[in-house]
């Protein structure tokens, strides 16, 4: 099981990094999503992989699984979900206003193109 989980995290990270290095906004967002999946599984596994054990103390339980990483993962999921929503909107607005989804800043910046302060 360890090998399976570790391999899955590795592949997710690989895909994420590849996509982040693309120069268009949509692949970058997908890549960030893959990376956040990878890190969620990673955090979960950091509490050690345990099967069929409760995360709360009970007199009947033979053992426990560590509840803290699960709480951490929950927080991380909420944050990365919100951030992904934000960056999708940002990429869309950028695409609609500039007509291109290139994520690079144009090399010679036109003075009149700069934002209003």
């Amino acid at each position: 099981m360890e090998l399976l989980v570790a391999g899955a995290i590795g592949i997710l990270t690989l895909v994420g990094i590849y996509l982040i290095l693309r120069a268009h906004t949509f692949p970058v967002i997908l890549g960030l999503t893959f990376l956040s999946y990878a890190v969620n599984v990673f955090l979960f596994a950091m509490g050690r992989l345990v099967i069929d054990r409760p995360p709360v103390i009970s007199p009947d339980a033979a053992g426990y699984t560590d509840p803290l990483p699960q709480a951490l993962v929950l927080t991380a999921i909420v944050i990365s979900f919100g951030m992904t929503a934000l960056i999708v909107v940002l990429a869309l607005r950028g695409y609609l206003e500039t007509g291109s989804d290139h994520s690079a800043l144009d090399a010679p910046r036109q003075p009149d193109e700069r934002g209003e302060a």
Binding site: M46, R48, S80, I87, T98, L105, P111, A117
Partner: protein, 509 residues
């Protein structure tokens, strides 16, 4: 946890959070009232930070356990001299920035003031938390608000720079979580005091894994602090956003520096066994390159805002040279410079905003143009800010640099440090002189009489007055910061305050 004054400790987090919710829920369509509430709340924050600073000045480390759960299981806030100093700095900076924004910039988009207050909540929380995971949470609160502030006012260029800024920070958050996960997997705790106890006891086989986690965290803090080669998000972001947002972001780079002091001074500091000073070999060389890159970029800038952004990079380089020494003298000199560079850098960004408003079609580009209204006054303010940032006498930048040069003598590579700092100062002097003479001297007849905006000028003058006060108070300030630095390096006091005196004994300190 009985005396009512102890509860003051959580107010720097709660007060802006409540204020932001109030602003967004009840006053969302009333810009004028938003301004009044936001300024009042920020003034209250200054008072609060001053009270906490006075509390912390007695030298004890105070821990605040939320819900009174015993450490290390509780969410914990810790106040010591270092956090109190930075809280006070944040609130003073915020007050100047909010006054500037009330001069009109906050009306160019929606929700400036709620975002501003949320950002203060995140920054204050990051300075107070005693837990690595909550450091992550407060970083995120600070960042979410900063995304909104960065994009405030809109415009195509700002959106593009904003996308990069958000993407970089999301990536940094992922790395942060991996680092936190590794540290938790090895030690089983994320409480900083508990980590400081457990890190030296870690099994030899796990030390490499823990070191990987520690260095991943360092990458994140270095990104926040704009340490080369992780600095390239900064110029586009700071130059792309509005002047008050950029001025407030001055404190965000300092949050990165603070996290480096806290985590690598306390948890992975001297006495951490196999992980002693895990980040130290990287900080000093990277900081020297940062300073050089900042100075060179400053000379090559084509607008005043780009120039200000590179001045920030150079000042972060200088600051991290001092922090990279990882001793009390270095921290103390670094903290003096940190306060100075926050005020002076913020003043420069606000001046760049003023220049851009007043100069008509040329905006803040470094090209000759008709004279702007109030040229003498704005030029004078620019002159002061430039002197402060370059580090020429008589302002605090000079004193800060002298302290850093003196502290650097303890390092084996001190000739390099001296050479880079002094050469960078010379290059920066040239860059600022060139920018100033183009902006304020090589100008034709005045193009009209636009009235000078009052509130923004007051804000800039206040920031420069704070720089001046910091210069005059250099003696007592550096004594106090010496104590602050020693306290930041004193593991046993911190552990004792958070976990109780027993843990202090167990740690063998």
């Amino acid at each position: 946890m009985t005396a009512p004054l102890d509860h003051l400790l959580i107010l720097p987090v709660i007060l802006p959070a409540m204020a932001a919710a109030f602003l967004v829920l009840l006053l969302r369509h009333h810009l004028r009232r938003q301004r009044i509430v936001s300024i009042i709340v920020t003034v209250l924050l200054v008072g609060l930070a001053a009270l906490l600073f006075a509390q912390a000045s007695d030298g004890t480390v105070r821990a605040y356990r939320l819900g009174d759960w015993p450490a290390p299981f509780s969410i914990i806030l810790v106040l010591d001299r270092l956090s109190a100093t930075l809280l006070l700095l944040t609130s003073l900076l915020a007050l100047c920035v909010v006054v500037y924004a009330a001069g009109g910039v906050d009306g160019r988009g929606r929700h400036f003031h709620p975002l501003f207050q949320f950002q203060l909540m995140g920054i204050n929380g990051a300075f107070l938390t005693g837990d690595v995971f909550n450091l992550f949470v407060f970083f995120e609160v600070m960042l979410i608000a900063s995304y909104g502030l960065m994009l405030h006012g809109g415009g195509a260029a700002r959106l593009k720079a904003g996308f990069q800024y958000v993407a970089i920070n999301l990536l940094a958050s992922v790395v942060f979580l991996v680092g936190v996960g590794l540290i938790y997997a090895v030690t089983g705790t994320l409480n900083m005091a508990d980590l400081a106890v457990k890190v030296p006891q870690v099994a030899a086989g796990d030390a490499a894994l823990l070191k990987a986690g520690a260095l991943l965290l360092f990458l994140v803090f270095a990104t926040k602090a704009a340490l080369v080669p992780l600095h390239w998000w900064l110029p586009a972001t700071y130059a792309g956003t509005s002047a008050p947002a950029a001025a407030l972001f001055m404190i965000m780079t300092k949050v990165g520096a603070y996290a480096i002091i806290r985590v690598y001074g306390l948890v992975f500091g001297a006495g951490a066994g196999p992980l002693e000073l895990a980040a130290a070999p990287f900080v000093l060389p990277a900081a020297l390159v940062t300073l050089a890159v900042g100075a060179i970029g400053l000379v090559g800038s084509r607008t005043l805002r780009d120039l200000s952004a590179f001045a920030v990079i150079a000042s972060m380089g200088t600051l991290l040279v001092a922090i990279g020494l990882f001793d009390a003298a270095g921290f103390s000199a670094g903290l003096y410079y940190l306060v100075h560079s926050t005020f002076a850098g913020a003043a420069l960004f606000l001046i760049a905003g003023l220049v851009q408003e007043l100069r008509g079609a040329a905006r803040d580009r470094l090209v000759p143009a008709p004279a702007m209204p109030g040229e003498t006054l704005v030029g004078g303010l620019f002159f002061l800010a430039a002197i402060a940032l370059v580090g020429l006498p008589p302002l605090s930048g000079f004193l800060g640099k002298v302290m850093i040069l003196k502290a650097a003598q303890a390092s084996v590579i001190w000739p390099w440090i001296w050479a880079v700092i002094l050469a960078a100062s010379l290059v920066m002097t040239f860059g600022f002189a060139r920018a100033g003479s183009v902006l304020f001297w090589a100008s034709g007849p005045a193009s009209g009489t636009k009235p000078l905006p009052a509130l923004p000028l007051v804000a800039v003058a206040a920031l420069l007055a704070l720089t001046l006060a910091w210069t005059l108070a250099a003696g007592p300030a550096s004594d106090a910061l010496g104590l602050t630095a020693r306290q930041a390096l004193d593991r046993s006091a911190y552990i004792g305050a958070v976990l109780g005196p027993d843990a202090r004994l167990a740690a063998g300190d």
